[in-house]
Every structure is written in C-alpha cells, then in structure tokens.
Amino acid sequence: MGEVWTLAEYRHEKLSTVSFELLNRGKSLSQKLNVPLASVILGSNIKKEDVQELIERGADKVYVVDDKNFKNFLVEPYANVLMELLNEYKPDIFIAAATTTGRTLMPYVAVRIKTGLTADCTVLEIEEGTGNLLQTRPAIGGNILATIKTPNTRPQMATVRPHSMKPSLPDRNRKGEVIYKNYDESLFKAKSKYLRFIKDESQQVTVQDAKVIVAGGRGLGKEENFKIIGELAELLGGAVGASRDVVDRGWITYPHQIGLSGKTVSPALYIAAGISGAVQHIAGMQTSENIIAVNKDPDAQIFHLANLGIVGDLNEVLPLLIKRIKEYKAKEASKNVQ
C-alpha cells in the first residue's frame, strides 16, 4: 500500500499552518494503515527550517520541489509537477487544504490522473476491512453530510476544510527523510502569468483563517457601527464577517461576506450581531463550533443555531461586552506581572 501524502502550502515564502492541520489528519490515517506519512512542498527558496518543521510535526518524508518558477501559485506548472510526483511515488491518499490554492489545484490534477476528489471534507476515516478512505463533507449549504469514497482509483484525493482539525504539535527530536526533486523546464510552462498580490488591509485576519469571527448584519443600523464589530473582533483575535445585506449596502467589502454567495467558514466561535439568520447566511456558517447570537427579535432564525442567544439591542450589549473584555484582559495581565 502506498503512502499518505499531504500538500504543505507555501505562500509568500511562508509555510501556512494548514499544513500542520493536514499532518495531524494524515497521521491518524497513516498510523491506521501502517504506512509512511509524507508532505509535498512546492515553492521557491524554501527554507530548511520549514522542511524540518514538517518532519517535527509528523512527516516521515518530505518531497521538496524548490524552483524559481514556484514563487507564486499558478495552477498549470503546479499540476504538471504534482502529476510527475504522484505518478512516480503512487501514494494511496493525497490530501490538501480547501484553500483557494487547494480548491484550484486538486481538481485540476484529479481530472488528469482520473481519480476521485472529495471537496471540503470535515471528517476523514479509514474503512474497516477495505482500508478505503471514508470522506465526510457538508453539502447543500451544510444541510446534509455526505460520506464519499473512491474505491477503485488511486490516490484517493480530498480537500480538507481549514480549522476542522488542530495543527499537530512539534517534536523537536523527530527525524525524517527529505527528498529533493528537480524537473525539466518544460513542466513549468504556463499559459498564465502571475502579476502581483494586492494585500487587503481590512483582512488583517481573513475569515477563512480565523478561529473567531465576529459578524455584523443590517441590525447594526449604520455603516459606522461596523467599528464595534471590528473592535470586538480585534479583542478576540478574530476576523470581521458580514451578511450580504450589509455588503450590498457598501458598509463593508465583499471578502467579508459569509454565506451562500460569499465564504463558507467554520471557526471555533462565530458571533452574529444584528443578523437574522436567513438560510443563505446560515449556509456559510452553520458548521461553526460555537455560535453566539445577539438580536433584538426573539424569533430570529439565528437563535436556532446559537449556543448562547442574547435577545437585546446590540448597541447596548456589544459596547458593554467590549468594556468587560478589556477589564478582564487588564486584570489577567496584572496578575501575570505579579
């Protein structure tokens, strides 16, 4: 049986933490199957410490393709090189994060090697007896869960929802094998060219990467009130989310929109303030681990999803909450000093 592979994501010359979440998932699969766990890393000027970190966090092997053409993600060369690797080493399972990169690269590759790909999975298990990968994913806006397998072709491929698992912890003494690969220039040819990255300052913490999201809706009443959402998000180290209604009003930009026609997220905590909980909004956030809702309408749909619901005016609740968190933090900080 082949190895279990994870795609380590190298963006802006940094290894992203989803790479360690994937190793955590991969480890339980490779242990069950009793095969090596390997990470593939494609990038340019890849740092030795980053490769070492993958080993410390669970990889038995790391396949490294370090090429100047891999400075930025472009699907064609990435797919060409991955296909070479997959055809040479024939892993049994290959998982990547359901990020914009994973969701572009994986289907492009799966088509070429004719194998199954399961999208945005939240649970991965090994089927007793067959050793097949059982992949569970939410569909129809999180209203159902489907378990899917790829019985006859290899590798079994899946993208995994970021934050659906904790990153694996490092063990500084762990040893592993590093395999450097070089490929012919022809594989890097692309009909596309990367021009530039434009950072969005309003996305200090992006909704896809956030552990906590504080989201505001029309109940905020006016654009200025988004400030309290931002302030609360910052205090909690989280990102700012929004309903479509307020995005359409121009109170906040589209990258913050959560829901059917925006982003699907599942943070550890989602705070919805002044959001009614329309199905199209819920479709994007109902798989969040914890939900707190603040809404003045006791019958608002959002309360059906909330672990904690506050029926009240957000203009009273949120400022007081912000004050109390600040007080709490100040108290904790002074405790630590003593």
Binding site: E76, G142, F197, V279, N307, L308, I325, Y328
Partner: protein, 265 residues
C-alpha cells in the same frame, strides 16, 4: 469574442426541507432555478459581449427540465444554448460531469472564454469549473472578482484569495470561475423571454459528442456516495432577554463566562 457559460440547474434552497427518516432532500414542490452563483458568470459573459461583440452560449448537463434554466439564461441576454442530457449521464460525479461538459464544449468549435460559477449550491464542491479547464487544457483563474483588461489574445484578471487579491494574465482561450463581486446580474427581459420561448435548444447525448462510454455517469465516476445523513438539527442553547440594566449585565456576564470557559479570552 466567443464565450461559453456552463450553468447548472439546482433546487431553490431558500426553504430546504430534509426528510428526517431518509436524510434526503424533499424535492416535491421545490422549484428549480439556475444555480444562483452562475448568474454572476452569465452577467460577466453578457457584459463582455456588449463591450467586445461576439456570442454567449450556455451549456448545461442535466435532465430535460434543465432546458428551463438554459431558456432563462437566454432571456437574460445569452445568444443560444445546448443541453447535454441522457440517462447514461446520470449519477456523474465531478470528474464525469467535467468530462461530458468539456467534450460538449470541444464539439462547439473555437471559443475564447469558459466562465463558470464558483460552485453549485447543491453539490457544493466547486470542482467542475477547474475540472473543465483541466480537460480542455486551459489556463485558469478561480475566484475571479474582476476582469481588468481583455485584448490581443490575452485577459488580465483579479482573483480573491486569502488576505487579498492576485492579478493574473492568461492567454486566450482561458477559463474563469467567478465570485459575486464580479457583477450584478440583470433580470430577464420580456423580449428576451419571448426570444427564448421560440428558440429550439439542441439536446445532445453521448452519440452526439466525442465521449467514451466507460467515462460516463456512475460507471465513469471515480467517487461513490456511501451515505447521506442530516447533521444534528439544532443546538438552540440558552436564550437571555435583555430588558433593563440588570438583565443587560447578566447577559454580558453570560457571554463572558462562555468566552472564558471555552478559552476565547
């Protein structure tokens, strides 16, 4: 400029009802609509046609009923459409779906752009757009939020990624999947509706396009759905009513306890 827009007909999801016993969606009485995210692709294509001239063709794989979706797209301003429909296509996963649509597109001659929605609201995989691009060996921009320039056989686009935007340049023909930010879909016009009503939409099966039988439908699909079930329906927890100063403080205490207990602060 010849543009192809693959669209999917999906059940209207604003009132999804699940059968709690079977865990399947109740389809009776549920209206079928164009995948809402495909409307942005249609609008993008029509805008490009208005600016650069040319033709927009919609293509859909699905049952006979999907003709309605194609006609609606034409009523919005697309020029014509093709339906890929046959019992042999039933049960396709994203691999087999992309295969049939890509080969349907190949049969239509030269084109400049394929524009897909980001994802369909039912299957929800977002894999068919990249899949079609891969079968057709096209450069691809996913999550496209803006078309910057088009000309000289090239397209420049902006795509929405984690933490910001990326700009790409691709040679034509190219494939895009688009997000809501790219356009504001128009409504069908009366004239468009009349035109669509009169139009004959070709319905093609495996005999009309260059496909291999073993790649079609359930048999051609590498994935299998093992089971479908409903997640725990509600977690409705504690609800606290703020009526005055006192209850306001209690409510905030509750939130604080929650945040501290779960280690969010």
């Amino acid at each position: 400029m010849k543009i192809i827009v693959p669209i999917k007909q999906v059940p209207e999801t604003s009132n999804v009802k699940m059968n709690p016993e079977t865990g399947t969606m109740v389809r009776e009485g549920v209206e079928s609509i164009i995948n809402p995210l495909d409307l942005y692709a249609i609008e993008t294509a029509i805008k490009l046609k208005e600016k650069f001239g040319g033709k927009v063709t919609v293509i859909s794989m699905g049952p006979e009923k999907a003709l309605e979706a194609i006609k609606e797209a034409i009523a919005m301003g697309c020029d014509d459409g093709v339906l890929l429909s046959d019992r042999k296509f039933a049960g396709s996963d994203t691999w087999a779906t992309s295969y049939v649509i890509a080969n349907g597109i190949k049969g239509m001659g030269d084109f400049d752009l394929v524009i897909c929605g980001e994802r369909a609201t039912d299957g929800d995989t977002a894999q068919v757009g990249p899949g079609i691009a891969s079968f057709l060996d096209l450069p691809l921009s996913t999550f496209t939020s803006e078309i910057l320039t088009l000309g000289d056989g090239r397209i420049r686009v902006k795509r929405l990624v984690e933490g910001g935007y990326e700009e790409l340049e691709m040679t034509l023909p190219a494939a895009l999947t688009v997000v809501k930010e790219i356009s504001d879909p128009r409504l069908p016009t009366l004239r468009g509706k009349l035109k669509a009503k009169k139009m004959e939409i070709p319905v093609l099966g495996p005999q009309n396009i260059d496909v291999k039988e073993e790649n079609l439908g359930l048999n051609g699909s590498p994935t299998r759905v093992v089971k479908i079930f409903t997640p725990k329906v509600t977690r409705e927890g504690e609800k606290i009513f703020v009526k005055d100063e006192k209850t306001l403080n209690e409510a905030v205490d509750k939130i604080m306890d929650f945040l501290i207990k779960k280690e969010f602060i």
